[in-house]
Amino acid sequence: MPSSPSLFRPRTLDEALDILAGTPDARPISGGASLVAMMNAGLVEPAALVSLTRIPELSGIRLTADGSILVGAATRHSAIAADKALGGTAAVLAHAASQIAGTAVRNMGTIGGAVAHADPGLDFPPALFAVDARVQLAAKPARRALPIGDFFVDWYTTALEPGEIVIGFEIPKPKPGDGFYLKHARVSGDFAIVSIALSLADDGEARVAVGGCGPAPLASAEADLMLSSSLSADTARRAGEVLMALANPVDDVRGTAEYR
């Protein structure tokens, strides 16, 4: 294993996990859109980096035999925004991807990197709630999968253990219907002040999640049930009140807690 430079570029997941297990201070890096920005700002100084962009099994979107969708962690935002497999209720994921930052960042950033970064203003986390995704994690020796709601633990804190990485997302078979991602930001492409992800099946089932109003997206089975029974302005308001009761927003450069 070379000590200099401390940039590892494994070609297989197995190799990547071995390096991460054997190099305690190593950080995985994928598109670099968040980590390199933090390095440039002097916020982090990783002892070693493990680039995950050359591992074929981590990239791309696959349909499984049962109709569920697997999105590899190293799939770029631009690929997700353009993917035709993400139809029906899963369209919310592509719609969210299309609103991340600008073209050049969408060509770099990856869904796994974004979700692992767990910034509360990110676009994918609420969309992943709206499609009821599971997060696939891998470390040596074990793999596991968590419901998206169990992945986010606190501000910028996830369920990832040292040496563990996000390898993909399981999206249950989309239903006929549609999905929408509405983002309220200062300018196009900025982090969300508040965002709403909604998947709406033709059979009436609705799933909603709100971003930017706490350490993790806000979601509630009660709110989903209300919206699934009726989409009137009145139920939307009452579902909003249920979600608002869960909110724990903070003041930041994009807006105050009260505004959120």
Binding site: G32, N40, T103, S188
Partner: protein, 162 residues
């Protein structure tokens, strides 16, 4: 974090050798070692877009790209793209339309516009605004920039067949 090592990068069709440590970005190497100063260091955070270059033909942020991780990619900067007919058309349209104020964002605006016109030779104003949404003009001269790209798009077929 590490000692610099020698790395060969494919930039503007040439194989160029740089010395880079792991945290060194493509932008730093382009500007400080290859003296290709068209890509600018604005925010160094991936927000302003002034560092935009093409990697394998698609716009990326050179300030967020690790130089050592780019050795298997084809990098094109404004300096290399200037010989291309689409870029020349864009440059003429920017000049004719006065699509500059201080000029700091201009190379990246041209690179991003080039990538747009390559994939979509006849974009609407909205498509242009979307494609350039990640490129900031601190002088706020967006109107003339968008108009210049629209103008360039109308001139592409004639120039290419000429």
């Amino acid at each position: 974090m590490t000692q610099p090592v020698s790395v060969m990068l494919k930039v503007n069709g040439k194989a160029l050798t740089a010395n880079a440590a792991t945290p060194d970005t493509l932008l730093t190497v382009l500007r400080d070692q290859f003296l290709l100063t068209g890509a600018k260091r604005g925010c160094n955070q991936g927000v302003c877009g002034a560092c935009t270059v093409l990697a394998d033909g698609r716009p990326v942020r050179s300030c967020l790209s690790l130089a050592l991780d780019c050795d298997d990619r084809r990098i094109d900067t404004i300096e290399g793209l200037t010989g291309q007919p689409i870029m020349q058309t864009l440059q003429r349209a920017f000049i004719a339309g006065g699509a500059f104020q201080c000029g700091f964002c201009t190379p990246a605006m041209l690179v991003a516009s080039f990538a747009l016109l390559q994939s979509n030779p006849n974009p609407s104003e909205l498509e242009i605004r979307r494609a350039l949404a990640g490129n900031y003009c601190r002088c706020t001269g967006y109107k003339k920039i968008v108009e210049a790209v629209l103008d360039a798009a109308t001139r592409l077929p004639a120039e290419e067949s000429a």
